[in-house]
């Protein structure tokens, strides 16, 4: 059960660590790298609070092994804002009051960023289906959907930017 050395890119920065194979990706991020923006909610792959981008795909990091991410590129909520300026999704969640307690927000934003990468102009139904794996216990989702719609509009108006995690 020796520790294994892993190297990966997190928000564009090269990182490495010696980890037990059983270490979960979310614990690598939070406990080893100190990136506590990624939350642990249900701890059983239902709630989506731990959603991060792994090689450009949104995944639930409570149910991925850290060793499986060896060599991969990760995107987390800490990588969204640039130069002190909130990402359009973050700004939209603020503007539209897309959160109350805020616990689900990092996962919602990472999932929404994947969704808009796949489908830059989603319908309301597509947004709702796109965040079906992310639970919010406060808002009733209405303002979250509005926030994602706002961000979709702003991102479409902006010149193309490189994706957060690829």
């Amino acid at each position: 059960m020796d520790k294994q050395h892993i190297r990966l890119t997190v928000n564009g920065q090269a990182m490495e660590a010696d980890v037990e194979p059983r270490l979960l990706l979310v614990h690598l991020l939070r406990d080893v790298f100190g990136l506590t923006g990624t939350h642990i909610g249900c701890d059983s792959s239902h709630c989506g609070a731990c959603t991060v981008l792994l090689d450009g795909r949104s995944v639930k990091s409570c149910t991925v092994l850290a060793v499986s991410a060896d060599g991969a590129s990760l995107g987390t909520i800490e990588g969204m804002a640039e130069g002190g300026k909130l990402h359009p999704l973050q700004q939209a969640f603020w503007d539209q009051h897309g959160l109350q307690c805020g616990f689900c927000t990092p996962g919602m934003i990472m999932q929404a960023s994947w969704l808009l990468e796949q489908n830059p102009d989603p319908t309301e139904q597509e947004i709702r289906e796109g965040i079906a794996g992310n639970l919010c216990r406060c808002t009733g989702y209405v303002n979250i959907v509005k926030a994602i719609q706002q961000a979709a509009g702003e991102l479409a108006a902006e010149p193309a930017e490189p994706a957060a995690a690829s």
């Binding site: 059960m1 020796d2 294994q4 037990e20 194979p21 059983r22 979960l24 701890d43 059983s44 792959s45 239902h46 989506g48 959603t51 792994l54 795909r57 949104s58 995944v59 639930k60 149910t63 991925v64 092994l65 060793v67 499986s68 060896d70 999932q111 994947w114 969704l115 289906e129 796109g130 965040i131 079906a132 794996g133 992310n134």
Partner: protein, 290 residues
């Protein structure tokens, strides 16, 4: 919860994977997406000494039609199936089932091969393979077997895969003639496992009668199974509302659901019948358009 300790390897190809599985026969588990296996580890329902992660194994992530069959590599994700153009145009039964699995994150990383090897009785793919008379390719250091789906799913979490074997591919016969397929399922809430589901693949003859019928049921027995009684009563008949209602009832009668938090036995039987009926209608419409 934290998984128990295990060793971890990430072989680069199928040959190396098979060597490891043979050397560590009975001690090793194959890891693909992990959305089934990691929860088992976390709840301490499984404690393999070694995980063999097939993330780097090449050649297992393709979808292609070859020799009259659709071939889906073991590491193809549910999302790949959901967005594949060949599947969207020619295999509506798969296109129906893919978006009902888990949620977007699960479909992004979870694989068809992993779901099939795990064999949860409420998983959606097994019934689809049963309805289409698909097969599952498994390989070991000693050779390769192609196992018909109808012989593959043995019991809850039990399949025909031997400990030193690796599931490498899933095969589904290409539809021919006036064929149509559909998958219908009911779940309590978004992202939940199905309460009941039905996969149907039909072929019509020149007079519009049913020439071939495959029906697989999800979540209403210890494992997915073929509703053979209903299949037999459909052959040679003209599609119709009454017939499909009877076929739904016949399929439900062959089911063996158990009461749980998804509902009592009577409810599950009623839902199985309704899903069979719904899938039969949709499959018929598609066959008529084919």
């Amino acid at each position: 919860m934290i998984p128990p300790q295990f060793d971890y390897v990430r072989p680069a190809d199928v040959g190396e994977t098979l060597r490891i599985l043979k050397e560590r026969e009975g001690e090793a588990k194959v890891l693909a997406g992990g959305y089934s296996l990691i929860p088992l580890l976390r709840y301490r329902l499984a404690s393999p000494a070694l995980l063999v992660d097939i993330r780097d194994v090449s050649g297992l992530d393709q979808i292609a039609e070859v020799d009259g069959e659709l071939r889906i590599g073991a590491r193809v994700t549910h999302h790949q199936i959901e967005t594949d153009p060949i599947i969207a145009s020619r295999y509506p039964i798969l296109a129906d089932a893919a978006p009902t699995i888990g949620d977007p994150q699960v479909r992004n990383w979870g694989t068809m091969g992993g779901s099939i090897a795990h064999a949860d009785p409420a998983a959606d793919w097994p019934a689809v393979l049963i309805a289409t008379h698909g097969s599952i390719v498994v390989e070991s250091a000693d050779g390769r077997r192609v196992i018909p789906a109808r012989e593959f799913f043995i019991d809850t979490f039990v399949t025909a895969i031997e400990p030193a074997e690796l599931l490498t591919e899933v095969r589904i016969p290409a539809p021919r003639g006036r064929s149509g397929g559909a998958y219908a399922s009911i779940e309590r809430k978004a992202g939940d496992f199905a309460t009941a589901g039905a996969a149907v693949q039909l072929r019509l003859d020149d007079d519009g009668r049913i020439a071939a019928a495959g029906i697989g049921l999800t979540a209403v027995a210890e494992t997915q199974f073929a509703a053979t009684h209903a299949e037999r009563m459909l052959i040679g008949t003209q599609p119709g509302h009454e017939l499909f209602e009877d076929a739904g009832r016949e399929a439900a009668a062959q089911s063996r659901p158990v009461a749980d938090n998804h509902g009592p036995v009577e409810y599950k039987r009623a839902m199985a019948a309704a899903m069979v009926e719904r899938a039969l209608h949709r499959a018929t419409e598609r066959a008529r358009e084919a």
